[in-house]
């Protein structure tokens, strides 16, 4: 039996999830998943999220970080060959091409991406989450399960290293 309070909570969560759905799809595609796989990964993420949202106390302001934390796990499983093809994703899949036809990107953007790819794994992910997905450093700490102090220190170091490389290559003054 659902109480009015629970219904209100579910409605808020539903709204929050709806706001993040497109961002999640982009998250998976930006990390190399094909659009069709990305549709499944979004579905899987929401299935896991709905299954667990009632079991965990997630602060409203951390809901987005919590959701993307699940998405990272789902992406890891996908890269281990553990993706399910879900009927749930059929409708989304039907609106997407099977493979990504990346729009022409400025050479500079590709160059910066290449520089990011040379960073240590953790630093790379911190930079992507902050600059590509727009998370705060505290949210990144939640997503990665690392202390915020570690995230701050590593982001600062990575940013300095990237700045130096970009100055070297003449892309930054």
């Amino acid at each position: 039996m659902s109480t009015p309070q629970r219904s209100a909570s579910t409605a808020k969560i539903t709204d929050a999830f709806r706001r993040e759905a497109t961002g999640l799809l982009g998250f998976f595609i930006r990390r190399g998943a094909s659009p069709h796989d990305a549709a499944d990964l979004v579905s899987e993420t929401f299935l896991v999220a709905w299954k667990n949202i009632g079991r965990e106390k997630v602060a409203p302001e951390m809901l987005r970080a919590w959701l993307f934390g699940i998405a990272r796990n789902v992406l890891s499983q996908h890269r281990r060959g553990r993706t399910r093809r879900l009927a749930l994703a059929d409708r989304v899949r039907a609106t997407l091409p099977a493979t990504e036809h990346a729009p022409a990107e400025p050479e500079l953007a590709e160059h910066v991406r290449e520089l990011i790819s040379y960073l240590p794994e953790l630093d790379k992910e911190i930079v992507r989450l902050v600059y590509w997905e727009g998370f705060t450093q505290e949210e990144v700490a939640t997503i990665l399960g690392k202390p915020a102090t570690v995230v701050r220190a590593r982001l600062s170091r990575a940013r300095s290293a990237l700045r130096a490389r970009l100055i070297e290559s003449g892309d930054l003054e």
Partner: protein, 222 residues
């Protein structure tokens, strides 16, 4: 870049700031990093389909969970709980209430001791007696260190080798693998060694269903 000198991510959220004086047209390192994300623009149709998907996922029956969901359990499903002695089977739902002792020494020399409790769910329902007997009598000495060693592989703190893998895993992280957080890695490793490997040890075949672990392990890896 905003007029206030703050820098926005792909979705318009403020991510940082930098003083640039009057050189508003010159990109900063934050501008370049923010603009380097591969572009993705969804259509109206895709957004509508995603909207529907959120609702359908909400209404999906949890009972539809299949075995792969075991590997997708987020860290919080492995929650700490009161651990009591004994073991019971109620309505095909297996509760092994004898905690499994986990002990490992981290790469910084810290000895960590904690416990895990199995809640088999429908996952073990075909052979609950055998499973119960296994958990009550199996010698888990050394398993804690194996769990820890494999967790380090999942966090990419350690190079993976086949010798470190659980029986249920035939895969080593490659360059594309997104490293787990410490707690998720430890939880995933516990699921592999303490749930999925048991399926192999007992020859349970293609088991499906639901299963949980409860643990007071904090996820400390260093």
């Amino acid at each position: 870049m905003s007029a206030a000198g703050h820098y926005l991510s792909n979705d318009g959220r403020t991510v940082g700031s930098e003083k640039t004086g009057n050189t508003m047209t010159k990109p900063t390192v934050d501008d370049l990093l923010t603009g380097s994300g591969p572009r993705f623009e969804s259509s109206v149709a895709t957004e509508a389909a995603l909207d529907a998907l959120v609702l359908q996922a909400r209404d999906a029956k949890p009972a539809a969970t299949k075995r792969p969901a075991l590997w997708l359990m987020p860290a919080a499903m492995l929650t700490a709980g009161a651990l009591t002695a004994g073991a019971i089977v109620v309505d095909q739902y297996l509760h092994v209430d004898v905690p499994i002792a986990i002990e490992y020494t981290t790469d910084t020399g810290v000895t960590v001791a904690c416990t895990v409790q199995i809640e088999g769910g429908s996952f073990f329902s075909p052979q609950p007696a055998e499973v119960m007997n296994y958990y009550k009598n199996h010698n888990f000495t050394g398993t804690g260190q194996k769990i820890y060693d494999y967790a380090l592989v999942l966090t990419k703190d350690r190079q993976g080798t086949r010798a470190l893998l659980p029986k249920s895993v035939d895969w080593l992280p490659d360059d594309d693998f997104v490293a787990y957080s410490d707690k998720t890695a430890l939880n995933d490793s516990m699921v592999s060694f303490l749930l999925l490997d048991v399926v192999i040890d007992l020859g349970l075949g293609d088991t499906s269903g639901d299963a949980n672990l409860s643990s007071d392990c904090t996820g400390q890896l260093h």
